[in-house]
């Protein structure tokens, strides 16, 4: 008989079967791959959620008004975080004061005045790298410059906030740059067409439009400053203090420092009570700041078009 023999059919069947099983294997591999990707993505999130649940669970019993208004104590029932809370909150306007004018100013220069030259490239690379410098090195900078060279008193609010301002300056610059760059160029040209001077144009057109973006970036930068510990240790912030800072020359402590100190106390009430409560307070403050930043971003971007 001509045509297809049993052997041929077997061969064809085998080929089809192989190809389909190849496809099947590929599909399975594909599914496994996607599965791995999902697991990976959720790994971090779920781990964090688990840890956060533990912390919040341990903290609930210890969070009350007294905790927020008492000074720390060797007795866990009496222990509070008031001086650290004030210290951390005081840092916000001070770090903002030192970093925002300089940061926004630098961003304005880079976006509005600088031509695309080598100098501009170098400055931008520099800023990107400064953001990547470990924060403990900024602590050394604060120690070596503000305390040792300028003779400021160690552990005071002003030294702490100056050091932290240096730390967040690159972040402020980059996010302000992005905000300014996102203002459509047509608005600038419209302004020029009306015969307005450059600074006037920036002041009345660019900045107002960029301010929501600048604020968002700044708030996020300040939030990251609030979580910093190592620079404050280096400039000599107090391990223990029972009073809130009264002015910029006061000695101070901050929430992350207290978490650092209390995580060392082996007693159950501290490790599983007071410390988690402090962490929850810090996280809630950070959450509020991040929430504010997101809110600003959403509110003002909807206004646009």
């Amino acid at each position: 008989m001509n045509g297809i023999s049993r052997g041929d059919i077997n061969c064809i069947q085998k080929n089809i079967y192989n190809r389909y099983s190849n496809i099947r294997i590929e599909k399975i591999k594909g599914k496994i791959f996607i599965f791995l990707c999902i697991v990976a993505t959720l790994l971090g999130v779920i781990s964090l959620v688990t840890l956060l649940v533990y912390v919040f669970w341990d903290a609930t019993a210890w969070l009350n008004l007294e905790f927020l208004t008492n000074p720390p104590s060797r007795f866990p029932e009496r222990a509070g975080i008031y001086p650290m809370l004030v210290g951390s909150i005081f840092l916000i306007p001070m770090v903002a004061l030192y970093s925002i004018p300089l940061g926004v100013g630098a961003a304005i220069y880079l976006e509005e005045y600088a031509r695309d030259s080598l100098i501009k490239r170098i400055i931008e690379i520099n800023i990107a790298n400064l953001a990547g410098v470990p924060s403990i090195v900024y602590g050394l900078l604060g120690l070596g410059f503000f305390v040792a060279a300028l003779g400021m008193i160690h552990g005071t609010l002003i030294v702490g906030s100056l050091t932290l301002a240096l730390r967040v300056l690159p972040i402020v610059i980059v996010s302000s740059q992005e905000a300014i760059a996102s203002v459509p160029i047509s608005h600038r040209f419209a302004s020029f067409a009306l015969g307005v001077r450059k600074w006037h144009m920036i002041r009345t057109v660019v900045l107002p439009e960029a301010i929501p973006g600048i604020m968002t970036g700044t708030i996020l930068a300040l939030a990251s400053a609030m979580g910093e510990t190592a620079p404050l240790i280096m400039i000599g912030a107090a391990t223990t203090i029972f009073t809130a800072p009264r002015g910029i020359l006061s000695s101070f402590s901050a929430l992350p420092l207290q978490i650092f100190a209390w995580s060392d106390f082996p007693h159950r009430e501290f490790q599983h009570g007071v410390a988690p409560a402090t962490i929850v307070v810090l996280l809630l403050i950070l959450l509020a700041m991040n929430g504010l930043a997101i809110f600003i971003r959403l509110k003002f971007s909807r206004k646009e078009h």
């Binding site: 008031y82 809370l85 004030v86 916000i92 552990g155 600048i214 391990t239 223990t240 203090i241 009073t243």
Partner: protein, 313 residues
């Protein structure tokens, strides 16, 4: 404009929080102001901190930042250059430190504040050891050819590496321990985990079966459920045995050194008086050290009054 508004709001909020909060105790004399900077020994740290806490309940406006840096670290970096008013010390001031202070015009005034017994601890599950002789301790901690495994010290003990934890050489506890055990101050092996924070030693020893560490008595009393104290030459460390001197050679006096010029400030004066009054009280015992005998406390008070008179009141 919006930025200025935000900054303004933040400052107002901060100010409001500062003025609204404060100590919840009502028995406060709020008119005493000033600051008292303290640094030094991690052994004396719980004492100074507790006393500062009590002091702040009466005078909540006085700033008392305290750092735990180790006795030597406190002397060298803060006290002798006048950056702190008081240095906590778990050993007497050295001649070199005294001279360094005087070279800067600072006259240290010594006050003994308590008695301590350095405690050697192991993990509660370390059931093979209960007592160490001074010679065995020296064998474990000496710089040349120290014991590596527990079995090196006593062949019946486990053949496991001894995991060592202790203070660094910025610590007075370190100085005192090395002198008492090895015979020479500063003479110790260096391959152990050193830390200024004694709580770290507690945590570490509590968590590792073959660990061994040492620190001031208070840290043991606070954590008796987590670590096991070893008898030294047959004597168990306790407030009584440290007080009677039976726990030797590891019982020792604890001090504070005050900058004489700082006593001119009223807040420092009151604080030191407060401190000295408390040295015979139960507060010291609560923390885990031996309160001073009455005669010693009286001597301290006389010394202080003498100085205050000289400072021209």
């Amino acid at each position: 404009m919006k930025r200025k508004l935000l900054a303004f709001i933040l400052m107002v909020t901060a100010t409001l929080i500062v003025s609204a909060g404060g100590n919840s105790e009502k028995e406060s004399e709020t008119d005493l102001l000033g600051s008292i900077k303290i640094a030094g020994s991690s052994t004396v740290y719980p004492v100074s901190t507790a006393i500062a806490e009590e002091f702040n309940r009466i005078y909540p406006q006085v700033e008392i930042p305290i750092q735990s840096t180790g006795t030597g670290g406190g002397f060298k970096n803060f006290f002798t250059s006048g950056k702190t008013d008081i240095n906590n010390a778990s050993r007497p001031i050295k001649q070199s430190e005294l001279e360094a202070a005087r070279a800067n015009g600072i006259e240290p005034v010594e006050f003994q504040v308590a008695i301590d017994g350095i405690t050697v601890v192991v993990n509660p599950d370390a059931d093979w050891v209960d007592n160490l002789t001074v010679e065995q301790l020296a064998h474990i901690w000496r710089p040349i050819n120290p014991a590596i495994k527990w079995s090196d010290v006593n062949s019946k003990w486990p053949s496991e590496k001894i995991q060592l934890y202790g203070p660094t050489s910025a610590s007075g506890t370190f100085d005192y321990f090395t002198e008492a055990i090895a015979g020479e101050e500063g003479s110790s092996r260096s391959d152990y985990q050193g830390t200024e924070q004694d709580n770290t030693i507690v945590q570490a020893v509590a968590g590792s079966r073959y660990a061994l560490g040492y620190f001031g008595l208070a840290y043991y009393i606070e954590n008796q459920d987590k670590v096991k104290a070893l008898k030294i030459n047959g004597v168990k460390p306790s407030i009584e045995s440290a007080k009677s001197g039976e726990y030797s050679p590891l019982s020792r006096p604890l001090f504070i050194y005050v900058n004489r010029d700082s006593l001119k400030r009223e807040e420092v004066r009151r604080f030191v008086q407060f401190y000295l009054e408390k040295t015979t009280s139960d507060l010291i015992r609560q923390i885990g050290y031996v309160p001073l005998p009455e005669e010693k406390a009286d001597q301290n008070m006389e010394k202080l009054n003498q100085i205050l008179k000289e400072l021209g009141e």
